[in-house]
Point group: C2
Chain length 249, copies 2
Amino acid sequence: MKKIGIVGGLTWLSTIDYYAAICRMGESYAAANGACAPLPAPELIIESLDVAHAFRCIGTDGDEASWRAFDAYHRDALLRLQAGGARLALLAANTPHHRFASIVRGVDIPVVNIFEEVAKTCAALAVTDVLVLGTALTMSSPVLRDAMARYAVTAFSPASAEDRSLVVEIIAELQTGSAPDARRRLADLSKRCFAERPHTRIAVSLACTELPLAFPDSNGAETFVRDDILYLNTSAIHARAAFDLAVHE
Amino acid sequence: MKKIGIVGGLTWLSTIDYYAAICRMGESYAAANGACAPLPAPELIIESLDVAHAFRCIGTDGDEASWRAFDAYHRDALLRLQAGGARLALLAANTPHHRFASIVRGVDIPVVNIFEEVAKTCAALAVTDVLVLGTALTMSSPVLRDAMARYAVTAFSPASAEDRSLVVEIIAELQTGSAPDARRRLADLSKRCFAERPHTRIAVSLACTELPLAFPDSNGAETFVRDDILYLNTSAIHARAAFDLAVHE
């Protein structure tokens, strides 16, 4: 199995989700192949960055130079993972994927792209439209929309500024560990957004690693249905894709 | 703050404890210094090894050559952390500390030693005798006993083979997530061992990262009292020592 590199810390809670998910998949894989305890675990390397520094480096779309520090901070971490023996890598957050093409420039190992893996999952589930909930940058990202469009999936975010603010607010609450009624609020918001798109097969992309915390009983499932809504856990989909690449290629 | 390197995966559950503990300490430290959300997080690098491979490489005391692969597996990970920019490091498990001197040979960054940090904690608490519960290798380790002795602390493990087996059994149960009555069984066992040493100030060293799972309400505290017994959470003590070194030196 190839050594997986993770650029983490964005935030560290979600890095734990990725790490635990990959280790659990490794154990299941080893057990299914007849291994005994202690079960072999995949070798991994994690570069955990400072999320506050990453946020300070966020640039302005249309001004390439303004992104230089942001891109370099993530790229340098990927290069250190590569030097440390990682044979594939991932950026464990949605936000930096807005700058994916620039970040991976000069990186020689494959970097698994979360937008692309979510798009593939949508296509496999015959989803035509996906409501993207995440940080302001993710919700407005043309890079995300283009990645979805390549798989014939239409990505959209809440139309009203009020609903977009509500998403950001719920994420902040989930980060602090106290988000009363988050599941119901997300369902109500999603159904408001669906109303504009009847006759489509819609899913909701939880495109920020805190959002699945609103569904504690989903147990890290890649996709799940609650309140008649199909939800996509983007980090679980991403971790699975990296594991599969590490094992099978 | 200096970048901390962690040799993890031994097992991955305990690596999560170390990582979460250091990130939480970093957030508290940043908040206490007036930082706002998103709180700055310490930069870290984690080399997560395959515990099954590490176990297969365990040698035999008295036969130095038999330890070569074990020592090299851990040392190479430390050297990769050093090359990746770590300015101090730790081995996130008790077991490899039995071979600490050999493992750190040729490593230029400080490596925080769990045996030594636990010994310092015992000395600070005026503990004279410490009951060591852990893997067979840890319980019988003269290296651990010597480290404690340097701080005038007498380390001992359960005298009867039956009690030593019971410890290993409870650890295995905790690893699977089902260890009925583990707290009571550990308390009973500890009190049996204490009976041989009246008139001493005793603590119980949970010298295997699974053992604190028997005390879910201890919330990662470095030391805590349950059933009139003073317990030491060795990985929490170790993580704190690494954090303090990263911040203050």
